[in-house]
Amino acid sequence: MAASLASKWSRVGRSLLGGLGNNLSGLSSTSHEMASGNFLSQQQRTFIQMRTVLKVVDNSGAKTVMCIQPLKGRKVARLGDTIVASVKEAMPTGKVKKGQVVHAVVVRAAMQHGRFDGSEVRFDDNAVVLVNKAGEPTGTRVFGPVPHELRRKKHVSILTLAEHLA
């Protein structure tokens, strides 16, 4: 099942790249500087899955983590989901060390997330907050904006630490 899913994603990726390639040829008539900008900005943002590298936005000590598995039996993770991750980069003085396997909550996702009023939100990057098995954050501060979706997922503790609420 995972294999079939992987092949589906690779097909999606290839078709996307094909689509982007078409875009590039179509844009050759416009100015050269715009063409390169267009190619980069029309990225298709998708889910958070295995091997996705995410930024850590709390003061737990980790800098980046790599997703190992989305939790709750999901195939992919979106905004507000919990994942199992491996710490890739860490500050030397921190609560977590490199190579540690941790749980994390996705607080910002570049893929648009549908809200109940019909609108969609998207963030600038993929970011997580490290969490213990119970769901309490490892760090004591959270940086950057944080979405309302966490309230529904019962991550109120992260919301209280947040500086901005998107």
Binding site: S119, F123, A166
Partner: protein, 167 residues
């Protein structure tokens, strides 16, 4: 429920439409449709893009200062629901819209004002230069005025046409 303004083109974003992009400095950009969103991603400046309200206001195409705009300012304090107030607000909205549209039309008319004289001048020059296209020089020698000559057409073609139809 709140009607937002598109960051790029300044049109209203109704509920259920558009995308809001949250930048990491917590600034929220709302877009009414993917056209505006894509232009934003291209890093285009709305003040330089001709079809946006920002450009039009900046270049004096649309009116900038008007008392009708004061009614639309963002208020963050929620009002307690009052049926009378709601009814009066709805009536007021209609009236204010009508007034604003009338003022915008007046602004547009004022903007387009000096054009008629210019158009007539251009037409006169064109007539003088191009009169030989419609008036034979011999006729022009006789009659110096720049009026178009009357052309007499002999009515013969009609009978031939009827015969073709019958066949």
């Amino acid at each position: 429920m709140r009607l937002e303004k598109c960051w790029f083109c300044s049109s209203t974003v109704y509920p259920g439409h558009g995308i809001q992009f949250v930048r990491n400095d917590a600034k929220i950009f709302r877009f009414c449709r993917s056209k505006c969103h894509k232009n934003f991603k291209m890093k285009r400046n709305p003040r330089k893009v001709k079809w946006t309200k920002a450009y039009r206001r900046l270049h004096g195409k649309d009116m900038t200062q008007d008392s009708t705009f004061e009614f639309e300012r963002k208020r963050n304090r929620p009002e307690r629901y009052d049926r009378n107030l709601a009814e009066n607000t709805l009536k007021a909205i209609k009236k204010i819209d009508k007034i604003r549209v009338a003022r915008e039309e007046r602004h547009h008319k004022l903007r387009m004002k000096g054009k008629k004289a210019k158009e007539q001048k251009e037409a006169a020059i064109e007539l003088e230069q191009g009169i030989h296209l419609v008036k034979a020089p011999s006729v022009l020698a006789q009659d110096q005025s720049l009026t178009l000559p009357k052309i007499k057409v002999k009515v013969q073609a009609q009978a031939e046409e009827n015969q073709a139809m019958e066949e």
